[in-house]
Symmetry: C2
Subunit: 360 residues, 2 copies
């Protein structure tokens, strides 16, 4: 007698087996397709599957057979363009490798991050991708190390995306981009245009790996060209449009001398442009502006923004690819993706003499 599945109570292999007159094992074999089954039987089983509208229970399968085929993606938020692109890459590669993609947001809360890692451990995610720069503080590094070990013990792999490597003994996959190199390159470009007084908006949060790298590239470029740096021209900000705006106004209000501004991100640069425009300064005639990331916004700004291109999507793809196809004996992995300067219309030769605050 055939069971009559009703709403909310799914048919199981047993139902299919009963309905097609075979054993549950055979049904399983037909569905998995990895075992010889006679054509006639297969047909009968498939017919029953269709009639009952049977779908396998992923939980039960995971428990009985292999693992769970899941990749977790933990990120600050989904709407930052850079994050969204990394996410896109992660999802894409996970799908390509036959995995499902779990996504969680921390909103910058370290506690929440920890909770999520535990959750992902429960879920047996094959890889747990952490996106975005982290702190460089001793305690933070220790924490991440611990997490990496815990995940490793649970048979899952920690992937750090867009931050520097940990010690080689830590079981983790690290995929970063040449953050410092990009900053060095674009700063050098400004210097080659004759700029000598360049403001840097994006200091602050000392120990934040992304910021640190960009600032370091900025500094190294100055050293390489034997140019002095003045601390008054580097500003701590919060990496949103508004803080770029405020920092620029502050720079102008204090009468700092500068002919160019290096904004730590494209989003910050968008605020910079507004402030300069309000102050009656022309870009790039009076002041050159550069950003970092090359998100689509960079092309929509007026003028179009000269910036450092980072292939965020590739970053996400690479992260998953490496984590899933790694040498099981290798402890740590580390890859760096290149960056390059994209020249658009927000940069030009330094005006002479250098501008100061208008009207001062």
């Amino acid at each position: 007698m055939t069971r009559q599945p009703s709403s909310g109570d799914r048919p199981t292999v047993k139902d299919v087996a009963a309905s097609s007159g075979v054993s549950a094992t055979t049904v399983s074999r037909v569905l998995a397709g990895n075992y010889p089954v006679s054509t006639a039987t297969r047909a009968r089983v498939m017919k029953a599957v269709r009639e009952l509208d049977y779908v396998i229970n992923a939980q039960a399968r995971a428990l009985g057979g292999g693992g769970t085929k899941t990749v977790a993606f933990i990120v600050h938020d989904l709407v930052g363009p850079a994050f969204a692109y990394v996410g896109q890459g992660v999802e894409q590669q996970a799908t390509a490798e036959g995995r499902l993609c779990l996504v969680c947001t921390t909103h910058g809360d370290p506690e929440r991050e920890l909770e999520l890692i535990e959750l992902m451990r429960e879920q047996q995610a094959e890889a747990v991708v952490l996106v975005g720069g982290g702190s460089n503080s001793r305690s933070y590094v220790e924490r991440i190390t611990q997490i990496a070990r815990a995940l490793d013990k649970s048979g899952s792999r920690l992937v750090l995306c867009g931050r520097p490597p940990l010690s080689p003994e830590v079981p983790a996959t690290v995929v970063e981009y040449d953050n410092e190199g990009g900053a060095y390159a674009i700063t050098s470009y400004l210097i080659s245009l004759g700029h000598r007084d360049i403001a840097f908006l994006g200091a602050g949060e000392p120990g934040h790996t992304t910021v640190d790298g960009r600032l370091r590239g900025f500094e190294r470029a100055h050293e390489a060209h034997h140019l002095p740096m003045t601390p008054q021209r580097t500003r701590a900000i919060t990496f949103d449009r508004e803080s770029g705006y405020q920092a620029t106004r502050d720079l102008l209000a204090r009468g700092e001398k500068f002919t160019a501004i290096f904004a730590a991100t494209d989003v910050v640069a968008s605020g910079v442009l507004v402030a300069l425009r309000e102050a009656g300064l022309r870009v790039p005639d009076d002041v050159s502006v550069v950003g970092y990331d090359d998100i689509p916004l960079a092309r929509d700004l007026t003028p179009e923004l000269t910036t450092v291109h980072v292939d965020h999507e590739e970053l996400g793809r690479t992260a998953v690819r490496y984590a899933l196809n790694r040498d099981r004996h290798a402890m740590s992995q580390h890859t760096v993706i290149g960056t390059h300067v994209v020249i658009r219309n927000s940069t030009g030769p330094a005006p002479k003499p250098a501008r100061t605050r208008p009207g001062k």
Copy 2:
């Protein structure tokens, strides 16, 4: 004798039980915390949990106990700003309700969409959120109806986010925004500024629900003000920046008469602005431009874009909230979220006489 867990082989309740000298049942109770357990026992168990670094197996729990506490989010892609915000809302609400969030992208492929629905059925997702406008074609509606029924049978709920409701007999939750109303309002605003010749960029794909709604609002506003519409001024596009750019160039090249452009999305509007600028036309002095969506980009364009605000994040939140806390007896649900016009600097009084192609 205590088991020694090694890499990749997780301790189980049994290990914890053995290590703390109680039964597996007791361990389960301590962990669930929903049953009386003596303080002493609880302490011993927790100690063992910590020592073994035990984490529960979510799959096994799902199989044994209740369901899976998962919400699935199926979307065209993650990087479209509107999608990203809906996703943010979905994730946020899912988390708030103690659910995990699975995310998958279709890249516009209907086959892929079907596959994903099946996958989500296997995963026993409590809710499956489909984001973005769909087709209105008979076959498409039938397909969705079938999907809704299939999911319902599997005990999971289909949620349509940002598209019109299906028939009341179809078990689905629909959350849309007042798409047509927003288009009506912003068109009326243009008309109130004296514009009589308004181009609409975003026709095409007849049957696409989002586009249809916006065009209908545009048309209704014309009717309400007894204004004629000329088909030559509505253009089919592909909803990216480039197609907005091309459509505008085409409009100009053909010498169409217009004093304002209604771009179907903010992204399209960004392309429109570029084309107008290249043609030497000033916005809003020569031509007014409006968009739709009010994504952050709208404020970064020059001039800042007048557009229709849609709270995409709230859309996502509402979708999940309704799907999870619905009346189990109600078949279909339907909610509409309001939209409103945001006036910025891309719109102004219609110039007179109406501009045509410059130099013509």
